[in-house]
Symmetry: C2
Subunit: 208 residues, 2 copies
């Protein structure tokens, strides 16, 4: 048991808008008693640490031979030459680097931010995708996120499209395809606590 407790476990959560996946990540981190990270936390840390600025040159040097770099220069720099990297892209690269550092430190749960791709080669990482039936997502967006029915419709139409574009842009992969994840859970017929139980069952089996 001691041995299992000691083993590093990192869970990344990707999720459809309205699936409840964000909350699954939070509850999971609490149950596992490990740090929790998402976009707003990672953005704040980056700013507090001046990380995004400090790391840029270093990142840029390392990034020049990487897929991410060729992607950012290929898609993000029309007319500015192959060596140009925008501030936004530098920030993303810095954040990716910070995610890798977090993952080296110890167990945690990370929601979003292409963390599944960033950490794809680390054997102690489990990538989870949480999704749900459209009707269930709509219900959750209206009842729990408090959006109007119109904004919920708009959100269902636009948010995941933006996530898929962001993911494609930074990883070259298709967001929401099973091959990017170890486990994909439809949250529609089970509670969010049920989702965390299934993830922990997977971890128990994987680390056995």
């Amino acid at each position: 048991l001691e041995d299992r407790v000691m083993k590093k476990q990192i869970i990344t959560i990707s999720r459809e808008f309205g699936s409840g996946g964000h909350l699954v990540g939070k509850v999971l981190a609490e149950k596992m008693d490990v740090p929790y990270y998402d976009k707003s936390i990672l953005d704040r840390i980056a700013e507090e640490k001046g990380y995004s600025v400090e790391m840029m040159e270093e990142d840029e040097k390392r990034a020049k031979n990487s897929f991410l770099y060729s992607l950012t220069t290929a898609f993000g720099s029309a007319g500015t030459g192959p060596d140009y990297i925008s501030i936004n892209e530098k920030f993303f690269l810095a954040q990716f680097d910070y995610i890798r550092r977090i993952a080296k430190e110890g167990s945690c749960v990370i929601v979003g931010r292409c963390a599944d791709y960033v950490l794809r080669d680390m054997p102690f990482v489990t990538n989870v995708f949480i999704y749900a039936d459209k009707q269930q997502k709509f219900k959750r967006i209206v009842n729990e996120y408090g959006l109007s029915r119109e904004d919920a419709e708009k959100g269902l139409r636009d948010v995941d499209k933006a996530r898929a574009n962001y993911y494609k842009y930074h990883t070259g992969q298709e967001w929401g395809r099973p091959e990017n994840y170890h486990l994909c859970i439809n949250s529609s017929n089970i509670s969010l606590g049920g989702c965390t139980d299934i993830i922990m069952k997977y971890q128990e089996i994987k680390t056995k």
Copy 2:
């Protein structure tokens, strides 16, 4: 407990070639102590019962207003008029109808045959997709299915493409997309017994 045991549970398994999903279905049926069905068993039953012939007219009548019917006539009947349905297609429709009958009878596990789509509106049905990393699939195909390396490569290239086409043809849906399933499990880092344990955990939560 009595109540939970009594509840009907039907699991459909779709799987990538080489993922071990077929065996997951068999082991799951044993663990749940329920009947197991797959293509070869369903084909044999259909032939033994003369089912495919007997049911054709009835199916055809009911099918005329269905999506499956419009699909089969649209894609399968060039030059033969809108009322034509090939013997092959009649056999598939009869098999689909037989799957619905099986599902009405009681708990079971069904591998393949678009069973997820055929039973999609039944609340006691759980649709599972088993997949794996390419390298893992290759290894299993060579070591456990006993294929040559060349045939394994060929199988990886062709078998799932054929399954996707078959599925698309009969359901109009994309095979292997999370939205068609309740649970997608990458079998690469866990044993096949681990996969069945996760499915049973999902069932435990769903029927609680």
